[in-house]
Amino acid sequence: MGGRDLFGYVGIEAVLDQMRRKTMKAGFEFNIMVVGQSGLGKSTLVNTLFKSKVSRKSCTPSYEEKISRTVHLKSVSHIIEEKGVKMRLTVIDTPGFGDQINNENCWDPIVKYINEQYEKYLTEELHITRKRRIPDTRVHCCVYFLPATGHRLRPIDVEFMKRLGKIVSIVPVIAKADTLTMDERLDFKQRIRQDLQASGIRVYPQKEYDEDVEDRIRNDKIRENIPFAVVGTDKEHQVNGNKVLGRKTKWGIIEVENVAHCEFANLRDLLVRSHLQDLKDVTHYIHYETYRVRRLNESNASVSGLSALPLENGITEKYEAQSQL
């Protein structure tokens, strides 16, 4: 498309190798938040996704599954490595969400946390002498667990996703989906999609951020299938001579990685294998920028006599001085 044809080999494509080497040395960061009522299998799913014991449940030795009174956030970080690629994975858990009798405003601590991470990044970015790599604690993805009721979205689901869909990429999943037959699953998903559309909730991958046709086709396929119906486990069983991850019941073994049984593999592909970088990009270029514009407008409005210009590097110093007011 456009550009000149080269009449010899220049070696531009070697830039990809250089990039790859650099990023491998530097490593990746990925922050995933899991939200849902207690007992929906959040910790188990995260462990299964990343094939290691990364969740809060496996880390705290005296872990007791008690329902906590208030919503508080707990984050656990690990560095996992695969084929020379290092990833710093942070799992942010939200115990206490939706467990009380009165759950009004139980989403407030979560919204506050996400905004705080954006704020941290923003202040770091606005410093005069910035770090080479700003530590990225922003939440790249929020996995929201829906209980497999088979009916529709509940009021608390709608309220939460409405608010958070604007500031973070939400990936809704149907938890413990082994209680739904295939037909029930399809009906349930359809009803959920209707409800999401009716309430104006945008979940990842958002339609507006598709860059080109190829993306749109790929994402449309995903959009037809969300929310993914998942089953998580960390136990292995023998099936046809192979060791598979699964849940053994009296009527059969539910294989977690078998796409005929549940959609765990699809979720894993989405989150880890194909769209991980995209999630980070959407967070950085879209959600973070929205936050930044809003914040700067706010602080500009509070200081009289300044126009809301997008900042360039030259006037960083001036802004720094004025924002101290």
Binding site: G39, K66, T149, R152, A175, S199
Partner: protein, 440 residues
């Protein structure tokens, strides 16, 4: 032997033992009494009111359909999320007449859509508790009325409470609901959608829930203890039944083909769950308990314990109000005969007053003899300790039951509020207390 026979004849019918003497000489013939009762009740038919409560999406309707092999919820429409935000807890009733081998059953299912669905569920059990009280109040009115031939018994006999399998045991909402209702209705906890749990998880959850029920002092429905002369197999079955609370159930509206047979079940890519297979779930246990073995006992407990508690409190608070009125009116020299009693006008005031006073005495007497029981425990034996304190005095508005008199132990059930019955017997229909005719 003769003394025994004489004593037998003195007791009301219910407590007589069928004693067959020497075949020819001393055979009286009342051994056929149970058959007569049986024939009469079959002709009359039975009724049973079952309430199902729990968050939506736990399979309540499916289970009801599976239990009674009907399709009560054919035209149900699910509200979408927008409509749900403004939904409040409703109480809906479905009645269906079932007949099997000549025995008629009028089954009423009370459903509670909207329970536990909102963001703020504070006091969402209030409408459920009010409904149960209303039924008690209506029955109380009917019972105290003049024409008691065709009383409709709408009292809730059993409440199946659905516990979500997705949590770690009981949620705060579950605890609050059960504590609010355990003194009004027989609660049978049920672990819903058990096909999402492996056998180990089922066992773990059941133990956890049993512990929590004991920890919070929730008095669920107690199965009556076996008589000591029952055979070992029966006793063992009874033990198993008690240990399986809460019942882990799976319901299904569809019939699938499994190993060549057509069974009620759910078809998954990884296997078929059979609802009536006791290796898969406790549905059969629940059905047997609810319908085949304990239906009459559930009704008896409702009638003798929950309803009588309600009635006692109602009368207590009414007489208290009457006394207050009387004291107030003494000053103004008006006759204190304006009773706020739900009795049909037509009875003379003097008689009503005498009735009130007598009942007041009996309430005082029975409340003192009502045994004080330690918080309910599932496994240990019930010990009965007489309480020597006078009953506490709650200043309630009329017919709002408070929890002053504690319910009776299972061992006491057969004796019940005997004093009540005897008192009533003195100036009312003697067959009233037998409970085998008008009270079903």
């Amino acid at each position: 032997m003769i003394i025994h026979a004489v004593l037998n004849l003195c007791l009301p019918f219910r407590y007589r033992s069928v004693w067959i003497f020497d075949q020819d000489k001393e055979y009286v013939g009342f051994a056929t009494l149970p058959n007569q009762v049986h024939r009469k009740s079959v002709k009359k038919g039975f009724d049973f009111t079952l309430m199902v409560a729990g968050e939506s999406g736990l399979g309540k309707s499916t289970l009801v359909n599976s239990l009674f092999l009907t399709d009560l919820y054919k035209d149900r429409k699910l509200l979408n999320a927008e409509e749900r935000i403004t939904q409040t807890v409703e109480i809906t009733k479905h009645t269906v007449d079932i007949e099997e081998k000549g025995v008629k059953l009028k089954l009423t299912i009370v459903d509670t859509p909207g329970f536990g669905d909102a963001v703020n569920n504070t006091e969402c059990w209030r409408s459920v508790a009010d409904y149960i009280d209303q039924q008690f109040e209506q029955y109380f009115r009917d019972e105290s009325g003049l024409n008691r031939k065709n009383i409709q018994d709408n009292r809730v006999h059993c409440c199946l409470y659905f516990i979500s399998p997705f949590g770690h045991g009981l949620r705060p909402l579950d605890v609050e609901f059960m504590k609010a209702l355990h003194e009004k209705v027989n609660i049978v906890p049920v672990l819903a959608k058990a096909d999402t749990l492996t056998p180990t998880e089922v066992k773990r959850k059941k133990t956890k829930i049993q512990e929590e029920i004991e920890q919070y002092g929730i008095k669920i429905y107690q199965f009556p203890d076996c008589d000591s002369d029952e055979d070992e197999e029966f006793k063992q079955q009874d033990q198993e039944l008690k240990a399986s609370i809460p019942f882990a159930v799976i319901g299904s509206n569809t019939v699938v083909e499994a190993k060549g047979r057509r069974v009620r079940g759910r078809l998954y890519p990884w296997g078929i769950v059979e609802v009536e297979n006791s290796a898969h779930c406790d549905f059969v246990k629940l059905r047997n308990m609810l319908i085949r073995t304990h239906m009459q006992d559930l009704k008896d407990v409702t009638r003798e314990t929950h309803y009588e508690n309600y009635r006692a409190h109602c009368i207590q608070s009414m007489t208290r109000m009457v006394v207050k009125e009387r004291n107030r009116n003494k000053l103004t020299r008006e006759s204190g005969t304006d009773f706020p009693i739900p009795m049909v006008p037509g009875e003379t005031d003097a008689e009503t007053e005498k009735l009130i006073r007598e009942k007041d005495e009996e309430v005082g007497a029975s409340a003192c003899t009502a045994k004080h029981r330690p918080p309910h425990s599932l496994q240990t034996e019930q010990t009965v300790r007489p309480s020597s304190d006078p009953p506490p005095d709650p200043p309630d508005p009329p017919c709002e039951p408070s929890l002053a008199a504690s319910p009776l132990t299972p061992a006491d059930r057969s004796k019940g509020l005997k004093s009540f019955y005897i008192a009533i017997q003195n100036n009312k229909d003697p067959y009233y207390s037998l409970g085998c005719t008008a009270h079903q």
